[in-house]
């Protein structure tokens, strides 16, 4: 077993082990055991990411496991966000009760489900074949739906039910596409579904095209691409904040990576232009659907959820344009979005303690009533809006430039216009949320603020580093490896 395979195995096995330990240890040991396990898992995931990204030309590809630059990037993001979510979970649990599991079992159920979610989520980008990737994506639904409905409040039950049903139905259509693909491909089914075999063996034809469309449309329901995104704002706004962070910053791009791998693998059969046009189409529609919501005064977590729709659209456009510039933009965008979005969701715990109205209404003037919380929210929203020096400003420029480089001038121009409109909406929200007229003037306590402010400082450093990385990334081996893919 190679060092990459060993690390990949450890990255997935550790959160599984954490979940098992959490299920059996005495009640008072649940939280320390869970946090220790998830922090260690996150550290190993980041180590695997560093190995994959510092040697992007050295691929590890079998029928079951793939460790390439794209998997390394995603595993690193999942490790980082999983680790941070574990660290802020105690503050959330201090303010919450579980209606789904009751007060006695709530903490244990929360950490067991969180560890299971992190385990299957980490395995998604490492899956070496389409069948395994589908199984893992479906498994993320079961683990994360429990967490979405954790509070047991009516709105959380509604969000969790919609999430469970719509994504399962979408993935059902994806599985139909996989069955069609398997029927069109010679050879035994599992070998035929490995990324390399799909690329080499799938014949061109109507069946393959229909299969491709079914798979991508089904995955789109899980990625939250418009117009099949209905569950996304509800689930992201009603889940516990540490879980919302994982859903938005890690789950959506991880499933997007599967859709991208499908497109890359089937390009020889369905045509390069067709496959990429489908991704660009989803990207533009997602941007267009998200913009009107970014202009409206929305509750903090719902605003962040619609921003996820926008950013998944940007990433879809980047992988659809598929030039080195666009792919450099995608890499920076996935990492920058994860850091900024996770920070925004983490800020929701102290925000809801400080201003309970924030659960259902837009809040204003937080920087005046609670400056450090306002600053943290400002860093998150400013970065998500693409306000320079946010790395998302640079990544969006790279994606647009990549669109022109790919000869997709109309799509690139439309992207620029839509992103400008989105920027205006989020910039307005930034000004109002932080510096607007506050609803309350007292400086009351904001529970769980300290770890969030600490993460805000760390996030600022990472965001600035990513902004610097955006300048040299287009000419690196990492982008070359992303462009080359597995084949």
């Amino acid at each position: 077993m190679t060092s990459r395979e060993t690390l990949a195995l450890a990255t997935v096995a550790l959160p599984v082990l954490t979940g098992l330990v959490v299920a059996v240890v005495p009640r008072r040991a649940v939280q320390p055991a869970a946090i220790a396990g998830l922090v260690l898992s996150g550290g190993i995931a980041i180590a695997l990411a560093l190995v994959a990204l510092t040697g992007p030309a050295d691929l590890e590809v079998t029928d079951w496991v793939v460790v390439d630059a794209a998997a390394g990037l995603m595993v690193g993001v999942i490790g980082l966000v999983g680790l941070a979510s574990a660290l802020v979970s105690p503050a959330y649990l201090e303010t919450a009760t579980s209606g789904l599991f009751g007060a006695r079992h709530g903490t244990r159920a929360y950490y067991a489900a969180l560890a299971a979610f992190v385990a299957v989520l980490t395995a998604v980008p490492l899956a070496g074949n389409l069948g395994a990737a589908w199984l893992l994506v479906e498994a993320t639904t079961a683990a994360s739906a429990i967490l979405v409905g954790f509070s047991g409040k009516p709105r959380a039950l509604e969000a969790g039910w919609k999430y469970l049903l719509l994504t399962s139905l979408g993935l059902g259509f994806s599985l139909l596409g996989i069955v069609l693909l398997a029927s069109a491909t010679p050879g035994s089914s599992l070998d035929a579904l490995s990324w390399r075999s799909l690329s080499a063996d799938v014949p061109a034809g109507e069946t393959t095209l229909v299969a491709f469309l079914l798979i991508v449309v089904g995955l789109a329901a899980k990625i939250g691409w418009a117009p099949v995104h209905n569950w996304l704002p509800d689930a992201h706004s009603e889940a516990p904040p540490p879980v919302s962070a994982l859903l938005s910053a890690a789950l959506l791009p991880a499933v997007l990576l599967v859709a991208w791998r499908v497109e890359r693998a089937l390009e020889p059969a369905v045509g390069e232009s067709t496959g990429r046009t489908v991704l660009i189409g989803f990207g533009l529609v997602s941007l267009a659907v998200a913009i009107p919501f970014l202009w409206r005064p929305l509750a903090w977590k719902r605003l962040l959820a619609y921003s996820s729709l926008e950013h998944m659209g940007v990433i879809a456009l980047g992988v659809g344009f598929a030039t080195p510039l666009a792919l450099a933009g995608v890499a920076v965008h996935i990492a920058g979005h994860a850091v900024a979005k996770a920070l925004g969701f983490y800020a929701a715990t102290p925000l809801l303690g400080h201003e309970p109205r924030a659960a259902g209404h837009a809040v204003t003037g937080i920087a005046r009533t609670q400056p450090s919380l306002g600053a943290t929210m400002g860093i998150s929203l400013g970065a998500l809006a693409g306000l320079p020096p946010s790395p998302l400003f640079l990544s969006e420029i790279l994606v647009i430039a990549g669109g022109f480089e790919a000869g997709r001038e109309w799509a690139a121009a439309a992207t620029a216009v839509l992103l400008a409109l989105g920027f205006v909406g989020l910039a307005h929200a930034l000004v109002e949320t932080t510096g607007g007229r506050p609803h309350r003037r007292d400086r009351s306590h904001a529970p769980g603020l300290r770890p969030v402010v600490a993460l805000g400082g760390a996030s600022t450093v990472i965001l600035l580093a990513l902004a610097a990385a955006a300048f040299w990334l287009p000419d690196t081996d990492i982008v070359e490896a992303l462009a080359r893919g597995i084949g």
């Binding site: 209606g99 789904l100 069948g131 395994a132 199984l135 479906e138 498994a139 639904t141 079961a142 739906a145 429990i146 409905g149 047991g152 009516p154 709105r155 039950l157 509604e158 969000a159 969790g160 039910w161 919609k162 469970l164 049903l165 399962s168 139905l169 059902g172 259509f173 599985l175 139909l176 069955v179 069609l180 398997a182 029927s183 069109a184 050879g187 035994s188 089914s189 599992l190 579904l193 034809g205 109507e206 069946t207 229909v210 704002p233 509800d234 706004s237 009603e238 919501f293 409206r296 929305l298 719902r302």
Partner: protein, 203 residues
């Protein structure tokens, strides 16, 4: 697979679309799963195929036990009304199935009937999710979609991978268990498993 068996699977699926009682719908979906397990056993060519057929039967029985237990634990004062009348639901489901058969090119399963039956079951399952309001009926719609896909996997010329088939069975069971947890909590919160009460999240 014979045309009679394919039609029997489709008829069971259409019955799920129109029936009112949850327990009857559970029985129909379970009969469908057991029929599929029977077909898989009859067509098995290796030990892997037999194991997959066995897993299918176990899954069908386990889900039936789970669903019937939950029906008993969450008695509705009266059956939850669907938003759409039974004949309209059946019409919509058949139209969707015909659209699927028309849109999807021949895919090379063992027989043409099995291709059409697979697409019909997927369409009927989607129609149940879209037109029924009872949480358990919606869940049965998802199970029916998966039953259709299992039929496709059984009728693949080379057979499907055992690992993938077992994984799908396990995933579906996990989803069903989580959905049942939600159903119980929704029933406890609202006094009914009617999704019409779940409409507070709007922008």
């Amino acid at each position: 697979m014979s045309g009679t068996l394919a039609w029997a699977l489709v008829a069971l699926g259409l019955a799920v679309v129109v029936v009112r009682r949850r327990s009857v719908a559970v029985g129909l979906v379970t009969a469908q799963a057991l029929l599929l397990a029977g077909v898989a056993t009859a067509e098995a060519e290796s030990a892997d195929d037999v194991a997959a057929a066995l897993a299918l039967a176990v899954r069908g029985v386990a889900l039936a036990a789970l669903f019937l237990a939950i029906v008993a634990r969450t008695r509705e004062p009266r059956p939850v009304r669907a938003g759409v009348a039974p004949f309209v639901r059946a019409g919509l489901a058949i139209l969707l199935a015909l659209a699927f058969v028309w849109l999807v090119p021949p895919v090379g399963l063992e027989t043409e009937q099995s291709e059409r039956a697979m697409l019909a079951l997927v369409a009927f399952g989607a129609a149940v999710v879209a037109t029924r309001r009872a949480t358990l009926h919606q869940l049965l719609g998802i199970v029916m979609v998966e039953n259709g896909l299992v039929l496709g996997a059984i009728e693949l010329p080379g057979g499907a991978s055992l690992a993938i088939e077992l994984g799908v069975a396990l995933d579906l069971t996990l989803i069903a268990v989580v959905a049942v947890v939600f159903h119980e909590r929704i029933f406890a919160e609202f006094g009914s498993g009617d999704t019409a009460v779940l409409e507070s999240l709007r922008d």
